[in-house]
């Protein structure tokens, strides 16, 4: 037996044990994510292929509409479809995380009203679930690179850094929406709107270099602009450049969302069981 730990429960007290508990329950992250993945594809005919089909078809449509019909320029020497897909990957990850996370607490209401564990685990594993989809659709990118015989440069090794930023963006905004959705169910309708709208105002179907220079700083207030630019910089290589001031603003916002998201979630999580 471990040494007895003393626990004090009081109104409004933030526990010192919280982060230790989070560590103690670390396996639950993966169990919940594993459950969601297992259940999601359990009664589907083509199973995991769904995770590939959606981004693939969106990519085809965007390539035709923006690249062929709209004649938008690609970035560097990369084929237009690869440029679109390099943005589609983080965007899908972000969008799925938002929808899954915001519904996760309400969907697990019975757990919340009957068992204690750090509530942060539930939206986090929703993000992990979306990350698995991200990895699966990553296979398509590899396939496309082989098809176009496109060899990425050394910058591809910096990709994990940008994945981490995408993670932070998904978690930060996801936590805000999750906590708000418990209290105000209106967010059930707001989130799909954000996701749909965001697809067009983020540089997914086109390169962010088509945005006029004087608007780029304003445009970078969308945290996904920084993430997508980073992904393109890392994957497409060549002479793709990052618009640094915008990139910094985007990432600063990501960090701000993450910190305040955790703060707001922690502040409200003790009342979840009462209002859910």
């Amino acid at each position: 037996m471990s040494e007895p730990q003393k626990l004090i429960i009081e109104a409004g007290r933030t526990e010192r044990h919280y982060w230790a508990d989070l560590w103690r329950y670390r396996e639950l992250f993966f169990f919940l994510a594993w459950r969601d993945i297992l259940v999601r594809y359990k009664q589907t005919a083509i199973g995991v292929i769904w995770a590939m089909l959606r981004p693939l078809l969106t990519m085809v449509v965007f390539t035709v509409v923006f690249g062929k019909l709209g004649k938008f320029p690609s970035e560097g020497a990369a084929p237009y479809s690869i440029m679109v897909f390099a943005a589609m990957l983080p965007w899908q990850f972000f969008a799925n995380s938002l929808s899954e996370a915001s519904n996760s607490l309400v969907g697990n209401a019975n757990l919340i009203s009957k068992v204690y564990f750090p509530r942060l685990i539930i939206p986090s594993s929703a993000v992990i679930t979306s990350f698995v989809d991200f990895l699966i659709s990553g296979v398509i990118l590899v396939g496309m690179m082989l098809w176009y015989q496109f060899v990425p440069g050394w910058r591809i090794f910096s990709l994990p850094l940008f994945i981490a930023i995408a993670f932070a963006a998904a978690m930060g905004i996801g936590l805000w929406l999750t906590a708000l959705n418990v209290k105000y169910r209106d967010f059930r309708y707001i989130v799909p709107f954000i996701v749909q709208f965001g697809l067009y105002i983020s540089p997914v179907g086109f390169s962010s270099s088509v945005v006029p220079e004087k608007w780029r700083l304003l445009y970078s207030l969308n945290p996904m602009v920084g993430v997508i630019d980073g992904f393109r910089w890392a994957i497409l290589g060549g002479d793709v450049r990052i618009f640094w001031p915008g990139f910094l603003i985007s990432n600063g916002l990501v960090l701000l969302f993450l910190v305040t998201g955790i703060w707001y979630f922690r502040k409200t999580e003790k009342t979840f069981a009462d209002v859910i």
Binding site: P4, L7, E10, L32, V39, K114, V115, Y184, V275
Partner: protein, 426 residues
């Protein structure tokens, strides 16, 4: 061994009852609408005092689920928490398990706590038994290695070896409960908190669960147990805490606690038990032992639940023809009906305890308070013992069969009749 492991000081939990909305969550629309209304009001009548804005928050009412509760639990104590529905038992357990936060007060807990407020929390119907053991174990706070180590033990306890790879949605309800309890029973906490989970499952399995919990207690671990089953509480617990309307009214040995709750002057008006047969109501022929009124199904007596009335009495003189009659009255003294059973008609009733049980079907009584008079008679002619107002009970309102009308229907009875209509012509 006498260390205090749970110390509760002035614990209160307040809920705000809103009479406006049915839903517990807030709609953003309302928050914004109220905000706009307030601004509008200020614009329209800027000199009115701030207090007028209170009116835009429709009647909110504070409700204390727990109020100023303090007690201590020592290591190795097995404590039964007793009280009627709504006395605050579940709220207390939820606060102790950190599911919800107290409004004020303080709790100090020393040791690892595991709580079992519901059997099978987190079970997913699509997953197999094996998968659910791992998932549920993780939710209850076990690590993967720990679950693996105990896996065979859990499966053996639940008796589901053959169905391990079947989705639990195909399990019978008995198997489901067994598996769920088995996982929880193999947690190894220093303090175990258990809500009314033994109410499910068959009798044999209930015994097995009680045995397992006794084992846990015997190992010197602390158990907090909530149940409406006083027999289970008496076997399992050594101490008791009695709650009534959010306040603690008694703490002490288990027998005294149960007595506080179930004795003649106890809180539990639906169950009366006379411990001493010589003090019990009765006479030279008949003595009452206990009367209990319970729902036929569910845990609350309401219009849909039906009512079960069980009376135990002692027949002191052998060789009679006994009959038992019950009269049901409204609170105003209107007799609803007389009903009863002939126990013997050939002068052969033995001396000793008899138990009678009468069932009032669902959808007969309307919501309200009812009183019972009893007569134990002989040969359907003579009264051996008669007692008026021996017990009363309340039938709670439900809106069954009333469509969108949720108010109480008028009348003493509320049958569900067969109705039909047809359209004849223009």
């Amino acid at each position: 061994m006498s260390d205090v492991v749970v110390k509760v000081e002035n614990l209160s939990k307040k809920y705000i009852l809103s009479h406006q909305s049915q839903e517990k969550y807030t709609a953003l629309r309302d928050v914004m609408a109220n905000g706009v209304k307030n601004i509008g009001k200020k614009l329209l009548s800027p000199f009115k005092s701030q207090h007028s804005s209170i009116n835009t928050h429709p009647s909110n009412e504070d409700f204390y689920a727990l109020k100023d509760v303090s007690f201590e639990i020592k290591q190795g104590d097995r404590v039964g928490i007793i009280g009627r529905n709504g006395a605050g038992k579940s709220t207390l357990l939820k606060i102790l398990s950190r599911i919800t936060e107290p409004t004020s007060g303080k709790i100090e807990i020393t040791g690892r706590v595991a709580s079992l407020l519901e059997v099978g929390t987190g079970f997913h119907p699509e997953l197999t038994g094996r998968e659910n053991i791992f998932l549920n174990g993780a939710i209850l706070g076990m690590g993967k290695a720990e679950i693996k180590r105990k896996f065979d033990e859990i499966v053996a306890f639940a008796e589901v070896e053959r169905f391990l790879d079947t989705p639990v949605k195909r399990y019978s309800s008995g198997m489901y409960v067994r598996l769920a309890f088995a996982v929880a029973a193999h947690l190894e906490p220093e303090i175990l908190i258990v809500d009314e989970v033994l109410a499910v499952g068959d009798t044999q399995f209930q015994k097995k669960c009680l045995g397992k919990m006794q084992e846990v207690g015997a190992e010197g671990r602390t158990v907090l147990f909530v149940s409406h089953n006083m027999a289970a509480i008496k076997t399992l617990c050594s101490k008791g805490v009695v709650l009534n309307k959010g306040q603690m009214i008694f703490q002490g040995g288990i027998d005294e606690s149960v007595d506080q709750y179930q004795g003649p002057d106890g809180l539990d008006k639906n169950n009366v038990l006379w411990d001493d047969i010589d003090d019990a109501p009765g006479n030279d022929s008949i003595r009452l032992k206990s009367i209990s009124i319970s729902p036929q199904r569910g845990s609350v007596i309401d219009i849909d639940s039906g009512v079960e009335i069980t009376t135990v009495f002692y027949n002191k003189k052998a060789g009679k023809s006994l009959d038992f009659t019950l009269y049901l009255f409204t609170l105003d003294g209107v007799c609803l009906f007389e009903t009863g059973i002939i126990i013997s008609s050939s002068n052969d009733a033995a001396e000793g305890y008899f138990s009678t049980k009468g069932l009032i079907p669902p959808h007969l009584l309307n919501a309200g308070i009812y009183k019972i008079n009893l007569i134990v008679g002989e040969s359907q002619r003579y009264v051996l013992y008669k007692i008026d107002d021996v017990i009363s009970f309340e039938v709670e309102h439900t809106a069954t069969g009333r469509g969108s009308n949720t108010s109480r229907a008028p009348g003493v009875i509320r049958p569900q009749l067969e109705w039909s209509y047809e359209f004849l012509s223009h």
